[in-house]
Symmetry: C2
Subunit: 225 residues, 2 copies
DNA sequence: TCAAAAGTGTTAGATTTACACCCATGA
DNA sequence: TCATGGGTGTAAATCTAACACTTTTGA
């Protein structure tokens, strides 16, 4: 450490995860009650400290893995949050990351162990510190991403119906979509493949199941919704 | 400090500024040669450490002020950069911010004092550490912003011609625009006001000078380009 | 008088939006 | 048999993109 550097204080760095899921036709995030001071008992995002031997991205992935046991999950940075008063104890600057996971892939046992639950994005309670602001920014970023990039499939099972996909997009942008116009657009995207399989769990007639063909998308990435 | 926190190392936090300007029909950024180790002599963004008593935004504004003497400048966070190897000495995590300034408002004297210069965004040299990546991300963010928000005026004098405005947009998105279509769109935006003044410095005939009416924009914010 | 930049409208094509009925099936 | 969700096409309106000539004036 040079003399120059000594003028400045070092700070703790944490990551906080905004983990999105799609359940009951609603966009939800995983939050829990803090079990440590400061802020014990308040609603909070799941987070953790950045270690000495890992990058920010690695810290975010490790934190997500700790909570969900899941790897290779879609994640991206939302931004750095560093108000002076954001942590009532010592100064902690936090880097917010958002993630998209398939709710079905997340073990209920693990979820309960960590005491987190899925909460409708439209009904987020007041949370600890600046966590509401983190969620607000994450949501805006995701709304943009959903329009131009096929990230929505991260929230769905491998096989999904067009109605499920439409409900997802409705939940994300907070407004209903026209069924025929929606399906017209889907048909234009060859990488959203119709399978021979039928889902009969949601209707008597049954709905065709589709899958997202990532390889085909990479050859001609022209997503637009 | 609690026992728990001690498991984690604190780190230095810095801010790095991507300062955009518009000059000679080109989008440029302010960079200089590093005058300290590590990386002495390499091209670099202008940055500084985050102090104990200031938020990240405040640190970015202070750093910009130190370099330019300018306050109340449009600034926004690009993101946090925290690879393990990004600083060859001690670990430093940096928060990148981008800013838009009017080149004419920046004193040449100050610029030279700090040894920074305006470099065409299309001709950025290889820079220290991850600074090229910071610029790349800042540029993408700005390209998005320019389409939906009247931030371009931050780079222009109060009074500007439509040709200047068009050249700015061409520089930002890296492609030429159709003059008639461009001007058609401008006319639809009442908050871009034509004045009685004529600029004769760039043509014999003279071009009408326009101004951005911020108050009018706030009453009906419908920017689209 | 001419070079150089300013200024101005129209049209074809593409995209977006609104809209209503039949189908298949299990209960 | 009927209630429920699945599935389909068209037409009007809007938006986008392509395109060329006249004006003014200082040198």
């Amino acid at each position: 450490m040079t003399t120059y550097y000594q003028e400045f204080q070092k700070v703790f760095l944490s990551v906080d995860c905004i983990i999105f899921g799609f359940e009951e036709n609603k966009l939800k995030i995983l939050i829990g009650k803090r079990n440590m001071d400061p802020g014990r008992g308040e609603w909070s995002l799941y987070g953790g400290f950045v270690r000495n031997d890992e990058s920010l991205d690695e810290a975010a992935n490790r934190t997500l893995f700790t909570l969900t046991g899941m790897r290779n999950i879609y994640m991206r940075q939302v931004g750095a949050f560093g108000s002076l008063d954001r942590d009532p104890g010592e100064r902690v600057v936090s880097i917010a990351y958002c993630a998209l996971i398939n709710v079905n892939d997340y073990s209920e046992k693990l979820r309960k162990q960590h005491g987190v639950e899925w909460v409708d994005i439209e009904e987020i309670p007041t949370m600890y510190s600046d966590h509401n602001e983190m969620v607000r920014q994450a949501r805006i970023i995701m709304q943009q991403k959903f329009k131009t990039s096929p990230v929505g499939f991260e929230l769905l099972p491998n096989l999904f119906t067009l109605t499920q996909l439409q409900r997802l997009y409705e939940a994300v942008n907070g407004a209903d979509l026209d069924k025929r116009n929606f399906r017209k657009r889907i048909k234009e995207m060859d990488f959203i493949e119709k399978t021979d399989l039928i889902d009969k769990t949601h209707s008597k007639r049954g709905a065709a199941l589709y899958r997202f063909n990532k390889k085909m998308y990479n050859e001609d990435p022209n997503f637009k919704l």
